[in-house]
Subunit: 125 residues, 2 copies
Amino acid sequence: MNRRKTPSKEKILAILKSQGDAISHETITNQITDINRATIYRILNQFCEDGIAHRIIAENGKQFFALCKTCEVEEHHHNHLHFQCNTCEKVECFESEINISLPEGYAIENFNGLINGYCNTCAPA
Amino acid sequence: MNRRKTPSKEKILAILKSQGDAISHETITNQITDINRATIYRILNQFCEDGIAHRIIAENGKQFFALCKTCEVEEHHHNHLHFQCNTCEKVECFESEINISLPEGYAIENFNGLINGYCNTCAPA
DNA sequence: GTATTATTGCAACATAGTCGCAATAGTATT
DNA sequence: AATACTATTGCGACTATGTTGCAATAATAC
Ligand SMILES: [Mn+2]
Ligand SMILES: [Mn+2]
Ligand SMILES: [Zn+2]
Ligand SMILES: [Zn+2]
């Protein structure tokens, strides 16, 4: 299946780039009204398949997407942590990779790690 | 709000105990037919509130629940990893705690870490 | 320009979990 | 043992998020 370059993809990619954080489908529909719900989902899924973006699962099961800097080079290492603020609900990628060691005979395919708490803006004094 | 001891809670607790792994709502309904869907959800949520069980969010957003050994003593540390096999779909708690360091001004409230891959039974040769 | 087929919009569907409300049943008190 | 209080339950309706089939559209290659 060959990929085609389309306005929809460009727009969504632009939004992902402009945003520092990981964003949800909802955030995208807030900024774009002329692209169909399903299309947005499909494009995001495609970005993940293609290694352009990666998916983070929030505590409530909601999906967030982020372009990952370190993975652009087609060498995927998504074993870094993410952080979601319970107040402002933003999701961000943390730089530091975590070291994952598995029991004998186990194989890793993917990792999803999310810390919930309060960011420096929202943290209570 | 005082908790009451009920047959439903006893049954669900028994299932959680008998199971070594973390289990989903679905797994419970497969073993119990006489407790209402909503009730099961409510009981599981209560267990989490009360620190009896903890919740793991799978890659597909589905919730899993496990009694955590180390947390029974009312000192919660849920910063351990979980593993879900992509084949048999079982979810297990890994013992080793991971070390989480946050940026200045951030506060942690909860952690959900899930590795997806293949367990030693299902791993391809 | 034409053919090929990836992409899109639409609507319907699927799944997981929540919530309001009335009925039921633990628990404490008399 | 009976009573009062209120946590729990079952039921049904609802919400939220994401997926899928299909026909129409449009990107790409020739
Ligand atoms: Mn990331
Ligand atoms: Mn655990
Ligand atoms: Zn915040
Ligand atoms: Zn397995």
